[in-house]
Amino acid sequence: MSRASVLRVLLCAAGLGAGLVSNAGCEAGVEAATYPVVDDGYYPAACIATTHPIYYNGAATYWCAGAWYYHVPGGRWAHYGREPRELYERRTRAEPERRMYEPVAHPPGGVRPGGEAPRGGGGRR
């Protein structure tokens, strides 16, 4: 067998292995590679400060403004462009806990004082 053939066989084996691992990963929750990451420059600071994270793929991940945010290399924050199944299941079992530091009054008309401006555009997936 030529060196090139050996290489091809090895690549095939690697591909086969990757496929099996990936499919097994779907069951085990190791699935980050299949979810696009969106870095749109939004930093949900108050949400990160007040919300218990869920550790997913080794990183603290926060349910903020309808998306799962985590710290990406380079100091920026990004969110999954499509909700990972494991995180979806976690949040639909129980909404992530948030810390309330003061009682909040809701004035007539529903205007909420302070805080971050809501993100525009609604859904982002």
Binding site: G15, C47, A49, A60, M100, Y101, V104, A105
Partner: protein, 293 residues
């Protein structure tokens, strides 16, 4: 034969590749995650507003207070919570002298508002006492911070630093934008446009004598803390900027708060004054971040 083998391999790879792409992602018919989710929930918005309100009135521990608050929501397992709670309580104990000084300041402001006149000498003395106590907080907290580092896993240390940076970002917003604060007070007290204009002018006048806040000093300290805390070894004693950064942050935040109340005092109606005094005394009498989550 070789061609057949190669073709077979390619088909297998293509199928597996497809499965890699399509196989995950909650794509089963049942329990599929929604493709579109709306923005922040009401609970999230409330938690944000509550944190901003907290940060406007509770300054005493500066960066150490932000670290202690970061421990409130670490997402750790139940069996790890007790150890973190002990360290959190310890940090709050180390901040108590500064917290007592803050109580004095807020009560001084409330007394002045209730009587219709704020005594500038009393307010300045309370501010100086608070700033001086805040300068000691970092040094008093080094053992607790070292113990915290030893207790957390590397991933948890990174989470703590992320949270500290997030708290710092919120603190700057809470203490840097008078318009947001006035929106809140307008909602709470029913301020008229004329009152708001007078308050705005009063704050601007009062802050003329105050050196502008330089967030870089605190940002640099938080950055140094973060770099050191993420490392496998850590000694809070080597962070020499903690005292000055905290004193700067606490002194400025408290001064801004004092000037706001000085500007409010002459323009309030008796009902508004009574309500504001009640709100201030409420802030002075509790320490929500110390109460645990």
């Amino acid at each position: 034969m070789n061609v057949l083998k190669r073709s077979t391999r390619l088909v297998v790879l293509a199928l597996l590749g497809t499965s890699v792409v399509l196989g995950c992602g909650g794509s089963s018919a049942s329990g599929r995650p929604p493709s579109v989710v709306a923005g922040a929930s009401a609970e999230e918005a409330d938690a944000t507003a509550a944190l901003v309100e907290h940060d406007r009135h509770h300054h005493h521990g500066g960066v150490t207070l932000l670290i202690a608050m970061s421990l409130d929501t670490m997402g750790v397992a139940q069996d790890e919570r007790a150890a973190l709670e002990k360290i959190r309580a310890d940090l709050h104990a180390r901040m108590e002298p500064a917290h007592a000084a803050e109580r004095t300041l807020v009560n001084t402001l409330a007394d002045g508002l209730a009587g219709g006149t704020l005594d500038p000498a009393k307010v300045d003395a309370a501010l100086a006492q608070l700033t001086s106590a805040a300068a000691m907080v970092h040094e008093a907290s080094v053992d607790a911070l070292n113990q915290l580092h030893a207790t957390l896993t590397p991933a948890q240390r990174a989470t703590l630093v992320d949270k500290l940076e997030a708290h710092w970002s919120v603190w700057q917003k809470a203490n840097g934008e008078d318009d947001d604060r006035l929106v809140h007070l307008t909602a709470e007290l029913g301020l008229s446009p004329d009152q708001i204009a007078k308050i705005r002018a009063g704050v601007a006048e009062g802050m003329k004598a105050v050196p502008p806040f330089d967030p870089q000093e605190v940002t640099a300290h938080i950055h140094a803390f973060g770099e050191a805390f993420r490392s496998s070894t850590f000694d809070a004693r080597t962070l020499t900027t903690g005292g000055a950064a905290t004193a700067h942050m606490v002194g400025w935040g408290a001064t801004r708060m004092a000037h706001l109340f000085e500007a409010l005092s002459p323009v309030l109606t008796p009902e508004q004054r009574e309500k504001l005094v009640r709100m201030l005394r409420g802030h002075a009498s509790h320490n929500p971040s110390a109460e645990g989550g």
